[in-house]
Amino acid sequence: MESGTHQFEPHVSEVQLRISGTGLPELFEEAGYALAELMLGEAPLPQPAPESAGERVTLVAADTEALLVDWLNELIARSDLTKRVYTDLVVDELKERSLRAHIRGVSPPVLKTAVKAATFHGLELHEHDDGFTATVVLDV
């Protein structure tokens, strides 16, 4: 079974993302991959060159849902700063309100979709028998 899947759901003005993962780390990684696919407009995602620099991410949030929003916003902000889109994502540790991860990215000349931010609007995170599902709206 795939460890994570995602769909882009209808929204009039923004992008609504539904992500599933067999576990929370997988869900968070999948959310990052969905973001990268949206920004690049392509799947499968290009992989960073083996020699490309890695970056460490450490986040603390009010709760797990807020942590998911913070994670996506961290990737968006870093993309803006480094001009990379992060397509190699590994969540090393995920607790209820904190995470540590390491990420690597590619440097595209243009973006298909400029994402402004992940929002708290309609934010949902549910656990079920097969893992976790979340819904997040992105401002584009």
Partner: protein
């Protein structure tokens, strides 16, 4: 979220018409509403609005602490996040809340209209090359090439002084420019200490860039003058060459909003308060969180005005290259309005924090904040259509004060998602169709064109008719595109 039943033909009993192009959903609809929700629309636009979640989102806005009067939906209202796009709400100072989601991530996204003394027929032959020169002169895409990069000290000055700093110190404009910008291109109250390091880093090389999505720079001609007196005051005439710029505060503004929502959400969580929509995270304007956000928002707004000023400078450089130094070729600023912002304004004897999310200010004649040349006719309001369709210039009317806190809409409003638009429109065919209409298109992506296709938006002529019927603003001129540049 609540959903409304299908709206009956006569829009009764839940949403009732209370005036020309004005509807109300009373407080009794939901227990937590503090004020009614009002919508400026005709019956067809209202039917479109109830197809998405914009009306329930407007109802959620009515629950904000300190909200006065009513939450208002503009004729282009459509589903957003937190506030609907095209939503207006005023909260009472000092303890009414300020909600970053009620302004949006793109703080001071707005529109600026430039006008020349040139006629379309004077420049028709070279317009495609001019458009291409504009595309080369304005950085787009994801890279760093060709960008203006600010030092930390320059960034501080931009954030606190806005456009006057660019004009006085960097020579990027004239003193006259400042008179024709909302707030003179600078909001007092900016505090650079409240803008995070990350926000400053994101913005340091983004002045003079358009950004993506529905941002654009459009060369236009005035197709028709609709009000002789007002168009004369604004210096508009038929067949005139104009330029419309739509962009905002870029990554700096996005980060300011991201930071503030996070802080306010944490503060509410700490107090054990759950909002009906977490994106409506807010704090009393008198609180530390509220004051900090307002100071950062002012700084981001100043950055956005500075962004549009640098773009104006680029347009002027290109026009000078092609049309020389004669005064007719000089693109002067008609006006510049924000459509994602919070302003402290007096309304109905109270001082309110007016949130405008996808809505613009529309002061009527006589308002002291207007440039002297416009005081007789009212504040210019710009309603761009979608790509390839008309845009309108209007002037605010005094009646807007009581109806909409002196607000009007900011565009045609989306009615289809990007995905739905792409399913129905082939980008390359749209590009060819626009070219056949005589519109030069500078956009690298056919997919992006398809997402912004005219059919994805409401009918701008209808939206503008409703704005006028409701008494918010009156039509001055209709502009049509000649060239479109997208980021």
């Amino acid at each position: 979220m609540e959903t409304l039943p299908e709206v009956p033909q006569r829009l009764e009993p839940l949403i009732r018409q209370i005036g020309p192009a004005l509807y109300e959903l009373g407080q009794g609809f939901r227990e937590d509403m503090r004020v009614p929700a009002r919508i400026v629309a005709d019956s067809e636009l209202l039917q479109q609005m109830v197809q998405d979640r914009s009306v329930p989102q407007l109802v959620n806005v009515t629950t904000l602490p300190g909200i006065q009067g009513f939450a208002i939906g503009m004729p282009d209202m459509h589903e957003g996040y937190g506030f609907p796009v095209g939503g207006v709400a005023g909260t009472a100072l000092p303890d009414g809340v300020i909600s970053p989601g009620g302004i949006g991530f793109d703080i001071n996204c707005g529109v600026r209209l430039l006008a020349t003394g040139l006629r379309h027929e004077d420049v028709k032959e070279v317009l495609p090359e001019v458009a291409h020169d504009l595309a080369r002169s304005i950085p787009t895409g994801f890279g760093r090439h060709g960008r203006l990069s600010l030092s930390p000290e320059q960034m501080d000055r931009v954030l606190t002084e806005g456009v006057p700093y660019l004009v006085d110190t960097l020579g990027l404009g004239t003193l006259e420019d400042v008179d024709y910008l909302e707030a003179g291109g600078c909001l007092d109250g900016a505090d650079t200490a409240k803008v995070s390091v990350r926000a400053r880093e994101r913005g340091h090389d983004q002045l003079g860039t358009l950004g993506g999505g529905n941002h654009f720079l459009e060369v236009q001609r005035v197709e028709r003058v609709l009000d002789v007196e007002a168009s004369s005051a604004l210096g508009l005439f038929e067949r005139q060459l104009t330029v419309l710029i739509h962009t905002g505060s870029r990554g700096l503004g996005h980060q300011v909003c991201t930071d503030a929502v996070r802080i306010m959400d944490s503060a509410l969580a700490h107090e054990g308060i759950r909002l009906v929509d977490r994106q409506l995270a807010c704090a009393p304007l008198s609180s530390r969180e509220g004051q900090d956000y307002f100071a950062a928002m002012c700084a981001a707004a100043n950055f956005a005005w500075a962004n549009r000023q640098v773009l104006t400078h680029r347009v002027r450089e290109v026009f000078r290259r092609w049309f020389g130094d004669r005064s007719a070729a000089w693109p002067r600023i008609v006006y510049d309005v924000a459509h994602n912002i919070a302003k402290l304004e007096p309304h109905g004897g109270q001082r309110l924090c007016v949130h405008r999310k996808g809505a613009t200010r529309a002061f009527g004649p006589g308002h002291p904040e207007l440039p002297a040349a416009y005081r007789q006719v009212g504040q210019p309001v710009f309603i761009p259509g979608s790509m390839g369709t008309a845009s309108f210039v209007l002037v605010g009317q005094g009646a807007a004060e009581a109806i909409s806190l002196s607000s009007a809409c900011h565009g045609a409003g989306r009615r289809l998602s990007r995905a739905a638009s792409k399913r129905q429109v082939v980008g390359s065919e749209l590009r060819a169709a626009l070219n056949r209409q005589g519109i030069a298109v500078e956009c690298p992506s056919n997919a992006e064109l398809a997402e912004e296709a005219p059919l994805a938006y409401k009918d701008v002529d209808r939206v503008v008719d409703v704005v006028e019927a409701a008494g918010l603003a009156r039509k001055v001129a209709r502009l049509v595109p000649l060239a479109v540049l997208k980021g």
